[in-house]
Symmetry: C2
Subunit: 312 residues, 2 copies
């Protein structure tokens, strides 16, 4: 029984900020090894034109490999209809589509209004629903800048609630609420996730936090407290923040797993195996700004974790 | 009205790990400037023999200066009776005395059993109570390794509860529960602080967390949730961990203030002024391993904080 789901997004959100092309084989190995450590969902890449983000030029090959890993939920990010069509062709399990709650951020990111993006999401849902039921991927509506925006500053709770409701009514199987730029605090997290959860009923929500201002794991705790049970994270905290040089990006997967695991929450991930594959993959990836404390400090003396507890 | 008290301990816990002697004038300036930013309690030094910790050879001069800062609560750490006598002579406001919950850690730290240390605490209380009431400092019983120990690993909740009760019965005005080595997790924090609080009634508890494994601020949130209203922290996260090279030590004061402030909790500290004096003092202190995210990433766009809110 898993208490909390940990979704790896470093292969997408992390690699997106890495300027040099990472070999396809290494991306594939990352997926395989993280699955072996117990992670059961990975956002493996983005189906975006290679001229926009050359890092994902090999998206098709990475997805094809990931789909051979029995038991792994293969998610991809798609920025538009074209991406969704590619995702469908490849038979991914989840299509993550992101709209910014902040109008200016959405325009800067995808050169469309929030309204146009929402209409696009509805068309993607229609496209997916036209597939035979057994082949239909889950469609995830992601709301970025849900807790603040580097362009607009504050983002109103009202605009996030409206967008969340709209995505659910359009047919989203799940939602992601993302603190894209690390503006959230635990009080804001509790407020926003509580109201959105009560608005949308049983539709699962994943929280996507960045640790830019050091509050990433405190925000996870706040979200846990109001019933969130799925979190995005990036191995080695790979990613960074384009607006704050040297600052961290996504919360690190291994710190997230360590916190949940030490609280006695079952993630299915073996922290020892995760730390081993983290060391291996970051060594292969080379010199990037990694973040995360547990890899540096080591586990507490006598720490057992998942493996130890389940073996006992 | 202050919602949460922030106690600076970098001048003691932070500087203790700095091998080169920091000029007396700089230590004094640190106290003055941090008071100007709104911090109202500082553990300014330790009254410990200079041959053990040369960094505190100028303790008397730093204390004398700190006592001239009108409105500042001047706390000092004392390891034994001799230190307490010095603290009394100087007229400090608070005497912080620390005992490890872990027997092995206490022996390693002060070469005495926990029992001998507890008896010493009782003698210190007697000494203080013999003073005229108006001159009597507050006596704080600190319990270190309260959430784990690098020598013994797990530390039983029972031993911490027993020690807390004993210190309170001996006459402690306040307690500090310290996660000295960064082993705590939010679930353990909620359990321990809840039971100790219900054991000891109205005696205030300060939480002293280290961020060694990245959970420092999540642990603060957990403690806040069970009613803790005072936290120790170190400017710039100065301190580190002797057992984990490169790992962080105390939670950083500015990250703590940022989290509390952004949650709408009044700390009395002006985050803008704090970040300015952090930049100044760390520049003067020179090249040490600093930690903390907010100084690196900067405040969110349009962030007002204490100053902005109270001015509005």
């Amino acid at each position: 029984m898993t208490d909390v789901f940990v979704h790896e997004v470093g292969t997408r959100d992390g690699l997106q900020s890495v300027p040099t092309f990472v070999p396809t084989e290494l991306k594939q190995r990352w997926c395989s090894e993280e699955f072996r450590a117990g992670v059961r969902e990975i956002e493996v890449c983005s189906f975006v034109p290679a001229k926009l983000i050359p890092q994902f030029a090999d998206a098709a090959e990475v997805v094809r490999h990931a789909l051979t890993i029995e038991g792994l939920t293969v998610a991809v990010l798609v920025p538009n209809m074209k991406g969704a069509e590619l995702a469908l062709q490849h038979g991914v399990h989840k299509i993550n589509y992101v709209i910014s709650a902040s109008e200016s951020h959405n325009r800067a990111n995808v050169r469309r209004s929030t309204e146009e993006s929402a209409l696009d999401f509805e068309r993607i849902v229609d496209l997916c629903c036209a597939q035979p039921f057994a082949e239909r991927p889950k469609i995830v509506g992601g709301i970025s800048t849900a807790l603040g925006c580097t362009i607009e500053g504050k983002v109103s709770e009202e605009s996030v609630r409206r967008l969340a409701l709209r995505l659910v009514k359009a047919g989203a199987d799940e939602l992601i609420l993302a603190d894209t730029v690390g503006y959230a605090d635990p009080a804001a997290v509790r407020r926003l996730f509580s109201v959105v959860k009560s608005d949308i009923g049983a539709v699962p929500i994943t929280a996507h936090f960045h640790d830019t201002r050091g509050l990433g794991l405190a925000n996870v705790l706040a979200a846990l407290d109001v019933g969130v049970r799925a979190f995005d994270a990036s191995l080695g905290g790979l990613g960074g923040c384009p607006y704050a040089p040297g600052a961290s990006g996504n919360i690190s997967t291994e710190d997230l797993v360590f916190m949940l695991d030490s609280m006695g929450l079952e993630t299915g991930v073996d922290i020892h195996a995760l730390l081993e594959m983290r060391a291996e993959i970051t060594a292969l990836l080379g010199d990037h700004p990694y973040h995360g404390a547990i890899a540096r400090a080591g586990l507490p003396k006598g720490y057992q974790g998942y493996q130890g507890r389940t073996a006992g």
